[in-house]
Symmetry: D2
Subunit: 225 residues, 4 copies
């Protein structure tokens, strides 16, 4: 079994794993509830890895996904990412988010900056000064409006670009996480969001290795397109 991962840096942001509830074993217990086999320690001990793997794979391999047993496993992450990534992320409705609010807190002055290979060296060189200039201009105007003009933060923030970082706490069950991973690991997803999905996937694999294996085998690599 792989070592647990607590923290992964993504650009100037990061993903922090705080807690997992349930796990592969609880998913197996839940799946067995419907057939009346309540978990008994003796039985569990004698069950080999292979039969557990088969059971969890059966939840995900068919056309019909048996999602409820998977939902008994829940994760809590803390994330730091650009607002334009958070805007997509918080669209996922099954789960709970608490984001740092710019109505009350001051915007931090650091922001996402793209690099190579996301952009070719040439494109990056052509635009980077304009990009940095615009971000800094936005942040400077924001501070000026608050400090010199007495504007409330919640209006002044309107001039700051969505490349600045935000932070949020995310509690999400494993089934909802699988939906998010499927959408955000896809080649059609925005590159910057995909990097966060790859980080979360690495944590997912160490927390629930059997479920993560079944997810990769039957959903992620199932290229029916």
């Amino acid at each position: 079994m792989k070592d647990k991962i607590r923290y992964i840096q993504v650009h100037s942001g990061w993903v922090l794993h705080e807690e997992t509830m349930g796990g592969d074993q609880v998913i197996i217990d839940a799946a067995r509830t419907c057939s009346g086999i309540v978990r008994a320690e003796a039985i569990v001990e004698s069950m080999d890895l292979e039969s557990n793997k088969t059971l969890i794979e059966r939840l995900l391999k068919g056309k019909i996904k048996h999602n409820t047993p998977i939902e008994h496993c829940v994760f809590r992450f803390r994330v730091r990412c650009p607002i334009f990534v958070a805007r997509q992320w918080l669209r996922h409705r099954i789960g709970t988010f608490n984001e740092r609010s710019l109505r009350r807190c001051s915007a931090k002055t650091d922001y996402f900056t793209p690099g190579v290979p996301r952009l070719s060296e040439e494109k990056l060189n052509n635009g980077i000064e304009i990009y940095e200039g615009a971000m800094q201009e936005g942040l400077a105007s924001y501070e000026y409006l608050i400090e010199k003009c007495g504007w409330p933060k919640e209006i002044a923030r309107g001039v700051v670009g969505t490349a600045i970082y935000t932070e949020f706490l995310w509690t999400v069950n494993a089934w909802s996480l699988i939906n998010w991973l499927t959408k955000r690991l896809d080649k059609a997803a925005q590159y910057e969001h995909r990097e966060y999905a790859q980080a979360i996937l690495r944590i997912f694999e160490t927390e629930v290795p059997i479920l993560a294996g079944a997810f990769k085998k039957y959903i992620l690599d199932n290229d029916e397109d």
Copy 2:
């Protein structure tokens, strides 16, 4: 009964009511389902407004809200508002949103500008040029990065402030709408968001007058704080 309202302008944005499913009568039918009185035309006609009002008020007046009958009434709105308002709005999870994406479309060049009385005349005068300058700088940089430097829209948008307008389609049931109205009409809500909530409330009152009356009487004006 008040005239139906289809469109309300809010600053340079707007709220457009597209469709309502169900209504006061369906809520009453649903509430009666549990006591087995299926809607019969004859009965309905003889029922006076007063008894219907009493029934709907009973759903909302106690400590325990009887939300499911209310959920059978569903609305669809189209909204244009600043991104900083949409960021709060789309946090409401019970409902469906489809927002115009800046990954593919170009950002529109118009943005929210505060006025009096939101800001005092003095504050406004002190800051408005900085504000407008920062917004225009952001939009100009965005266009330059795309057109002159070949940056993808989805990265270039990071420099544009959240005061620019976005558009979305919102399907929401009446109970979820009541939760949103309660939070967004509150004095603690951001002024700009409250203006949208006031516009939606006006439409809500013409679409489901009995429910809206009960909402105002037992939830909105129930100042237990």
Copy 3:
């Protein structure tokens, strides 16, 4: 286009379609919102059926399902079915149910009776008298406990079998309905539930023919198992 269907009998129960909000056109509008093409009557009229069909199929055909545009279409049904079917049905969480309560109303005295070909003629003949006897005994005991012994309905109902009929109102969006149809039309679903799913599918096909066609083509008949 097929004629609208309002009512379909299923055994001694039925499915009644009450209202549809949105439809194929609204799903198309929603899908286009993200690319900024707001619905204009002129454009819509010139759009042929084929391009609309292609757009809706694109929502369902890949590994990643684009569910939010589909959710803007909402249905309301009234259903009469045995409690053992309702027990499975009401497990579907995305949607609103209001069921007739046996805490307050008296249980109706009719119940589901299986027939051929659900059971072979022989099995049916062997068991039907026992079955009918047990159901009638349960209902008679229920009435005796209430009328002769003064027991509250909410306890007395404990002796009545789950083959008796119940009624409920169901508001559900098209995406959640697709999930329900997929699970309940499957060969692993209980036969009696599948008959209700087949009835709802027939209504679904007349209400949103393009979406229903895409559902059948890309989800229902996609036998990857």
Copy 4:
């Protein structure tokens, strides 16, 4: 702080607490995220119980409930109760249930029997034989249909009364649990369901004492009716 409770018997059923994720401290962290105060061990240690209590009470005391911080706390219970109680319980949609299915498993032969003081001694004596007789008749018919007539379990179960016991696994966040407790502890709730709610409340109080205290003070005892 009270001792943790793992198991509470309710009639012939029970409630078993399996796991809690988060807790009072995580709720406080989540509430502070929006004001940018990330949890630092040093700060947390110096924070006295009183200030934490005040913060959590602020989430629940006003007209507007701040539910998202509370949702980061999640519980998993295993429950054994009569089907007529489970029928109401599983209606709560925000959470995950896995129930033992009578499509595959045999019905257990034990069932709920009411006693004094739920019924007066006289009423109980008048009806108990009829009640017991009907339940046993139903169970005997069920077994006969399966064993002697070859009927499938999923149809034969239709003759068994809803007083028989079922079992389920329930994962639910603290906010959804508060909604359930509010409705099921209410005097209008069915007596038998209320007994389960009282058992869960006792566990809730030992798992998240500060939140449970605020719930009792501001929601449960807030008799505005």
